[in-house]
C-alpha cells in the first residue's frame, strides 16, 4: 500500500512538472472569437488563427459569439479575467463591439479585428477586412456579362444587419443599376444561410417564373438558391455569390454556380495573429490600422486552386 501511495505521489508530481513545463513553454493564450463554428467561412477563420497562434507557441481559446453582442461581451470579460495575451475577433457588430474592444485594450490586451471592422479608429491594434465592395463589383460585372446585360433578376442578400453584406449589396447595385434592361423583380434577406436562401428562392420562383439570374450576398445563400432551382428543374438561371467555400467550388465545377469571389478568411486570421505576436514581442503596431484584402474572383477556370478559403 505504501509503495502504491509513493508511486501515485511520484506520478502526480511528475505530471505536475510536466504541466508546468508545458505552461512554461507556452507564450500564453490567444483568444479567438468568431461568429459561429458551424459556418465554413467562420470555421476557416478560427482554424487559420488557431493554427498560426499554436505554431507561434501560444495556447488558444476558440469560441463563438453567435453574432450576439451580449455573449461577445461575456467572452471578452472571460478572456480579460483569464489574462489572455491577445484577442483575435470577428466581431458581432461594428458599433456595439467598440466597448468590448476598448475594455480589452484598457486591460492591456491587444485586439486584432478580422473580417468585420468597428466604427472607431485608434482602439484595435489592427482591423483586417475584405474588400467587400471590390468583391461585389467583380461578381456583379460577371453577372451582367452572363445575363447579356438584360433580363429579370433576383437579389438574395446575406444579412442586412451585417455591414459587410450591406456593402456587397451596394456594390452589386452600383454596377447593376447602370443597366436599364436588367430589372430586379425581387429582393430578400436570407440571413446568410442556406435554408432561408432555398425557401426564398422557392417562393420567388413560383411568383416569377421568368427570372434569368440570381445574385447572392454570400455562398450559403447562393447554394440554397441553386438547391431550389435544381428542384424546379431550372438549370437555365444564372447564379453568382460571394465567399469561396469548398462547397461553392464543387458547385462551380459542376457548372451550377457561375462565379464567386473568394474571401481570404484564413489569410486575414493569420495576419491578425502575426500582428498581435509582433506587438507582444516587439511593441510594434502595424503601419496601418485598417487593411483591406482583395476578394479573389473565382469561376470555372480557377476553382481548382481554392481549398478551405486558401488560394493556391
Amino acid at each position: 500500500m505504501k509503495k502504491l501511495t509513493v508511486l501515485a505521489l511520484a506520478a502526480a508530481t511528475a505530471s505536475c512538472f510536466a504541466f508546468n513545463a508545458q505552461a512554461a513553454s507556452s507564450k500564453g493564450t490567444i483568444a479567438i472569437f468568431v461568429n459561429a463554428l458551424d459556418n465554413p467561412y467562420y470555421a476557416a477563420e478560427a482554424a487559420g488563427a488557431k493554427r498560426q497562434a499554436e505554431a507561434m507557441g501560444y495556447d488558444t481559446l476558440v469560441l463563438a459569439h453567435d453574432e450576439d453582442v451580449k455573449k461577445q461581451n461575456e467572452l471578452f470579460d472571460n478572456a480579460i479575467g483569464q489574462k489572455v495575451k491577445g484577442i483575435i475577433v470577428d466581431c458581432a457588430d461594428s458599433t456595439a463591439s467598440v466597448a468590448a474592444v476598448q475594455k480589452a485594450v484598457d486591460a492591456g490586451i491587444p485586439v486584432a479585428l478580422i473580417n468585420r471592422e468597428i466604427v472607431k479608429d485608434g482602439i484595435a491594434l489592427v482591423q483586417l477586412t475584405h474588400n467587400n465592395f471590390q468583391a461585389g463589383s467583380d461578381v456583379a460585372n460577371r453577372f451582367v456579362e452572363l445575363m447579356g446585360e438584360k433580363g429579370d433578376y433576383v437579389e438574395l442578400t446575406c444579412s442586412l444587419a451585417d455591414n459587410n453584406c450591406v456593402t456587397r449589396s451596394k456594390a452589386f447595385h452600383q454596377v447593376l443599376d447602370q443597366y436599364p434592361d436588367m430589372k430586379m423583380i425581387a429582393r430578400q434577406d436570407c440571413k446568410g444561410a442556406l435554408l432561408p436562401g432555398k425557401q426564398a428562392m422557392d417562393s420567388i420562383l413560383q411568383a416569377n417564373p421568368n427570372i434569368k439570374g440570381v445574385i447572392c450576398g454570400n455562398g450559403p445563400v447562393a447554394l440554397g438558391a441553386i438547391a431550389s432551382l435544381k428542384n424546379a428543374g431550372r438549370n437555365d438561371v444564372v447564379v453568382v455569390g460571394i465567399d469561396g467555400s469548398n462547397d461553392e467550388m464543387a458547385s462551380i465545377k459542376a457548372g451550377e454556380l457561375k462565379a464567386t469571389a473568394m474571401l481570404q478568411a484564413q489569410e486575414l486570421a493569420v495576419q491578425g495573429v502575426k500582428a498581435v505576436d509582433e506587438y507582444l514581442n516587439n511593441g510594434k503596431k502595424p503601419e496601418k490600422e485598417r487593411v483591406m484584402h482583395k476578394g479573389i474572383f473565382i469561376d470555372k477556370t480557377n476553382a481548382d486552386r481554392v481549398k478551405d478559403f486558401l488560394y493556391q
Binding site: 463589383s137 456593402t167 451596394k170 456594390a171 452600383q174 454596377v175 443597366y179 482583395k294
Partner: protein, 209 residues
C-alpha cells in the same frame, strides 16, 4: 385669435421660403451635418487638377508598355512599381498611359462601350467610352486620394463612380467613327501581365480627335 395664429404661421413659413430657406427631412439634415466625405463634392477639381496632372506627368506610351509586357520573363510586380501605381500589393496595378492611334471599330452594342484602337506599332487596345465604365482604374491610379481618406468601402466606391461619371461627361457629344485618329490619356488596371494587348481597356481622362 385662431385666425391670427394661422396668419402668423403662414407668414412665417412664406418668409422662410422667400428668404431661401429650405425645409429638409431628418435624413437630409443628418447628411448635411455629417457629409459622407467632402471629397465627393470636389470631383471636378480632383479630376482636372490632380488626376489629369498626374497622368500627364507619369503616363507611359502604350506601345512601350506592350513591349515590356511581351517579354516572357516580365515581372509584373516590378513593372507595376516602375510604370504603374497601387495603394497596396493587395489590389490591382493601375497603369497611367498615353496613346495615339486610329479607331478600328466602335462597339456600342454593350453599355460598356469601347473603341478598338490600333496603335502606331500595330497593337490593338480598347478605350472605354461608356455609358458604363465598369472599373475603377481612374480612381485607383490617383495618388492624391486613397481609401484611407474615406475608411468606408461604400463611400470610396461612390467616389470611384463619381470619377467615372465625370470622365463620361467629358465624352458627351463626341461621336466616333472607324478610321478616325484619336489621342488618349488615361489608365487601365490589371492583376497580372495582360494575356494580349486587346485585353487592355483604357479609361480615358482625356480623349481628343
Amino acid at each position: 385669435m385662431k385666425k391670427v395664429v394661422m396668419l402668423l404661421t403662414t407668414w412665417g413659413v412664406v418668409s422662410l421660403l422667400l428668404c431661401g430657406f429650405r425645409i429638409v427631412t431628418k435624413e437630409e439634415f443628418k447628411q448635411l451635418q455629417t457629409p459622407e466625405s467632402p471629397l465627393l463634392s470636389q470631383i471636378a477639381e480632383i479630376f482636372d487638377r490632380d488626376l489629369t496632372g498626374q497622368l500627364r506627368d507619369s503616363a507611359t506610351d502604350i506601345d512601350d508598355l506592350i513591349e515590356l509586357f511581351s517579354d516572357p520573363n516580365a515581372d509584373f510586380g516590378q513593372l507595376c512599381t516602375q510604370y504603374g501605381y497601387r495603394q497596396s500589393p493587395d489590389i490591382q496595378c493601375n497603369f497611367p498611359v498615353k496613346l495615339k492611334g486610329q479607331i478600328k471599330s466602335v462597339n456600342t452594342q454593350s453599355r460598356r462601350g469601347t473603341l478598338s484602337v490600333t496603335t502606331p506599332k500595330g497593337a490593338e487596345v480598347k478605350v472605354k467610352i461608356g455609358p458604363v465604365v465598369g472599373d475603377t482604374a481612374l480612381r485607383d491610379v490617383l495618388k492624391s486620394v486613397s481609401y484611407l481618406d474615406f475608411n468606408d468601402q461604400t463611400v470610396y466606391g461612390e467616389f470611384g463612380e463619381k470619377i467615372n461619371a465625370y470622365c463620361l461627361k467629358k465624352l458627351e457629344g463626341k461621336a466616333f467613327e472607324p478610321g478616325e485618329s484619336i489621342e488618349v490619356l488615361g489608365a487601365f488596371s490589371s492583376w497580372d501581365v495582360p494575356g494580349s494587348p486587346s485585353m487592355i481597356q483604357i479609361a480615358p481622362a482625356e480623349l481628343n480627335k
